[in-house]
Symmetry: C2
Subunit: 618 residues, 2 copies
């Protein structure tokens, strides 16, 4: 099959065995790659209600037919696993170079199961051979040092690495898998799953001049891609990327009043410009891009001062600025860079980490937690040094960090009393950096996102608070959210970056040029919806229902105190209306379960019946 | 309140804090103690879908108003927690001396939360003072040695101890909490929860001459108790206890054709008498009893030979004989004693352990697993030495033991292919030693037991295969199962031993004499049903539904090949009928969810609405 490496590897860490398999065209046409491939595998391989940190969980690293082709925004890989943070399906995407390297080395996916008897890493050498190697000497290493040592060890300075830091090793539920130092499969705790498998890293050597996959219509692809890059990527539409990258959103968010200020106490930060592009530019050393990506949205920044020393990172992105900056009241850009670097090196998710630090600061303000509980740290708003120490407590599960390492919900439950009012999360995943009180569709997007509060499943704010639609009505929001969820579900199969505003037509064009298929835009739309429903079935099987599609207290009951969204909240009535609309539009019943009719229409009837671990019938 | 110590302790291991609380009479009248108290606490303290091995889980050790009073079979304690094995509610009971000691020391319950920063133990001294002490020197110790060292350390030879072995420390999902060496809170993995909290042991010193609780009507209690012991316990009804104890059941089971022979391949073991009371008596050194229990059902046995050396245990019980003996094809009594001793010392559940060893032996027979997968062990039927090594692999999570340590379901899933046909479990908890094909009500009892396949929630076999009822019909079985589940739900609040055939009238008499209340038998019946439903609500909240109330493949599809139940199976049709009857009788809907009407009738409407972690409303 063109577009594919035509090889997936099952890596059994318990029995130290590697098996290979070639995927059938029929399967690939249905599930394509990345998210879709992972969704079907996870559905088939996992029985319901197993412990996601047990060796039973599988960690799937999948790329797609576009990965590594040089199409803009296609340098992506997906990690698919059962989330130990939310107990739901989890897929988490990242760019950089590692995903392309994996494809070039000849793999569409790695299915990693079991648990190594000691800390290990997986090495894929230039021949594509997979070996499981000792990594006990890397125990406790940060990500930066891990990458450095492993490149040295395999004798390939260009080797690309996916690894975990101490946070993943310590099974911190906010830990991610980091590729190329600053790209991270962050949300839902995939780092903890990797840690639970005693897997420190995956190292890939690959010869980019001899990729182990083919493009069907090389000339056609080149021509179309050149046109696409010239007409789209180099157009005004992507100027944000060339200019500030995602930090451009700091301004948009504050102007819309949705910037997560001090744990969502309000939606505007007074000195937001200190966190915005104009400040970023003072520290930026250059722009950067993922493998062969013409968008080049990334910023390399360097800070140097007495407090933090000299630090260079690829970042910070908007989400980091919003959650590690805004949500904690830290408006010192250099501090955000320093914290970003620490979080990456420890292997944490900047969104969840920032959210929890912000929550701790609010609990401290409200005297619901004392410095005695926090190893003597005075967790005051805006105190970057306090945040620095709290982050380390999380990664090393030190003292109360052991609770913080579980999540905002868990902090609330552990403290008890009124603390739950300050946890801003859905399904146990912490809110990212858009306050839905200023963009109501985001409340629905977070609530219905498959892996808990996630802004990427449907970045509907672009059409709403950042676009033309009225942000303060429940009307018509279900449609946008569903449309974007379905679109992204198929985008993340190929795998496109979230920053590419690509439509079904363009996607099918690219896909057909690469594979030689004749997929229509309509088919892709169908597949997107199908994959969204398959993942819902996974979550339903795990016991998730309407009551898990909730919004947190602050969003529902505390009107925004200031800014453009002043006085607004997403009332339970408004929210329930959006949810009702959404379920109806999706063809799900009132409990949020896909109806038989819908499943039949999506050709999921048989899949829904097939349990990987059957009740009692074969 | 008479009958109570009037003190519960919240032990926060993360923050090293202990708080005390007195329970209100109103609460106690509703939930009584033990299982009931724990059920309400767990429902209120845990948000749905949290990781049971995270510091968020609570480990509740609760006694009841009868504990320590000297009433027959009342020397019991309950561990209540969210099970890491099944993800359901879990309560697990044990006798011995520890539970009475805890009550005498002045505690109705310990609510243990968080996680200690290093391996620790809790000590309750003669003054009732609670301290958290270092236990790092006990790391890896077996239970026997742990008890010995701790008694020495606290300087009280009579101190009673609840502890975990290496299995609990290694978070083995089949690990229990062992009290007094051979009594075990076994099922559902409470040992792993204790291990996850870095808690090696709880040690209690108590002065039995000065118990910290009172009996309201001392003379009345004495008189009634004397009558009860004389008329009931010393009657023919309890002769089984005086004679062989639970091993008497080996004969009954084989005669009924329900003895779990070679992983439930059949229901009769050829040489069953080698495992029965006549053999036991050869090795028995004396009978024994739990604290002040007049039933005295226990057997102390000693073996001595070249292979196993000299071993003395309190045991083996029927379940151990059935699962470690019958289910593995081991019919050497001495071997069963040796394995029992090993399992206790390592801190494992004999039922689940035996079940999994049996399954491994069957998979080995069927060539679905090889000796290469098993560290070179040839897992042949009846090979006690192989079993011995496999048990150690489980406790230390060595090699494939890491998968076995998760459970039979997990072994099946990990191996894939047809392996699932050989997993005999419900909700991830392995079947105990009664094959339901010879006693159909047990299929329903296992399927609907709150903590997964459990024989104690409704030991309906006593009325069916061991009694007068036709074992091979689905008719009328729902009624027995419901009746016994409700009865046991309240029995386990006070806490009575399973071996006491006590009715509501006698229970209320005892309870009223101890507390001074005026509880009627009808009220107790109501409370029993109420608690059963509260626990169902907990499981429903965790996402359990009808599809989780299943029976395994063998029971549904493989007719019993020999013995009195030859040709019988519990067909899906028969099973579904029993389940339908049962839900209807319970006032649950088709999905197994209590209806609003039922909840209102049981005064659970408000509790059902109250989430410990609310959706978005207070």
């Amino acid at each position: 099959m063109c577009g594919y490496a035509n090889r997936i590897a099952y890596i059994d860490l318990t029995r130290s065995k590697v098996r290979f398999r070639k995927l059938k065209e029929r399967f690939l046409r249905e599930y394509i790659g990345g998210r879709g491939l992972g969704a079907r595998y996870l559905y088939d391989l996992l029985p319901p209600k197993i412990d996601p940190l047990s060796p039973l969980n599988v960690l799937i690293y999948a790329v797609g037919p576009l990965t590594g082709t040089g199409a803009p925004g296609s340098a992506r890989g997906a990690v698919i696993t059962k989330s130990p943070k939310t107990m739901t399906f989890d897929d988490s995407h990242a760019g950089g170079f590692f995903p392309s390297w994996l494809k070039i080395a000849g793999y569409d996916a790695l299915i990693i199961m079991g648990r190594a008897s000691k800390l290990s890493y997986i090495y894929i050498d230039f021949d594509g051979k997979i070996s499981i190697k000792d990594a006990t000497h890397l125990k406790g290493y940060g990500v930066f040092k891990t990458e450095e040592v492993l490149r040295e060890e395999v004798g390939d300075k260009q080797a690309k690495i996916a690894s975990i830091g101490p946070a993943g090793e310590n099974l911190v539920k906010l830990s991610g898998i980091i590729v190329d130092k600053h790209h991270i499969h962050a949300r839902g705790g995939p780092g903890a799953v990797m840690g639970s498998k005693n897997l420190k890293a995956i190292v890939v050597s690959a010869d980019t001049r001899n990729p182990r996959f083919e493009i069907k219509d090389v000339d056609g692809f080149k021509e179309y891609n050149n046109w696409y890059v010239k007409e789209k990527i180099f157009s005004e539409e992507y100027s944000w990327a060339k200019n500030g990258g995602t930090p451009e959103i700091v301004e948009w968010s504050n102007e819309a009043g949705v910037f997560p200020t001090r744990n969502f106490q309000t939606g505007v930060t007074d000195n937001w410009s200190l966190l915005a592009v104009e400040t970023l530019k003072k520290y930026r050393t250059s722009k950067a891009a993922c493998y062969r990506c013409s968008v080049a949205c990334r910023n390399l920044t360097r800070i140097k001062d007495d407090k933090w020393g000299e630090i260079t990172i690829d970042g910070p992105e908007y989400e980091t600025i919003g959650m590690v900056g805004g949500a904690t009241g830290i408006t010192d850009f250099k501090a955000v860079v320093a914290l970003n670097s620490l979080i990456d090196d420890l292997g944490l998710d900047t969104i969840s980490t920032g959210n929890i630090i912000g929550m701790i600061m609010e609990l401290y303000e409200k005297r619901l937690i004392s410095k005695n509980d926090l190893n003597g740290i005075e967790a005051k708003w805006g105190d970057a040094e306090a945040a620095y120490e709290l982050i380390k407590m999380i990664a090393y599960r030190k003292g109360f960090g052991d609770i913080m390492a579980e999540g905002a919900r868990e902090v609330a439950v552990y403290i008890g009393g009124d603390a739950w009012k300050y946890a801003v999360e859905t399904k146990g995943l912490e809110y990212p950096a858009y306050d839905p009180r200023g963009s109501w569709s985001m409340a629905l997007a977070y609530a219905t996102a498959d892996r808990g509060a996630d802004h990427l499943r449907a970045w509907s704010i672009a059409e709403e608070a950042f676009g033309e639609l009225d942000p303060f009505t429940a009307e018509g929001k279900a449609e946008i959210v569903k449309r974007l969820q379905d679109l992204n579900s198929v985008k993340w199969c190929m795998i496109w970056c979230d920053f590419i505003a690509i439509n079904y037509e363009e996607m099918s064009r690219y896909l057909n040029l690469v594979t030689g298929w004749d997929t229509t835009p309509e088919e892709l739309a169908f597949k997107g919806e199908r994959i969204w429903n398959l993942i819902r079935l996974f979550n339903v099987r795990e016991g998730f229902r309407r009551e898990d599609d909730y919004i947190p207290y602050k969003i529902a009951y505390e009107p925004m105190p200031s800014g453009p969204a002043k006085g607004k909240r997403v009332s339970p009535e408004d929210f329930e209306k959006m949810l009702d609309d959404y379920y109806k539009l999706r063809g799900w019943n009132r409990e949020g379960i896909p109806t038989r009719k819908k499943l039949a229409q999506l050709r999921l009837g048989r899949v829904a019946k097939k349990y990987s671990y059957p009740r009692y019938h074969p």
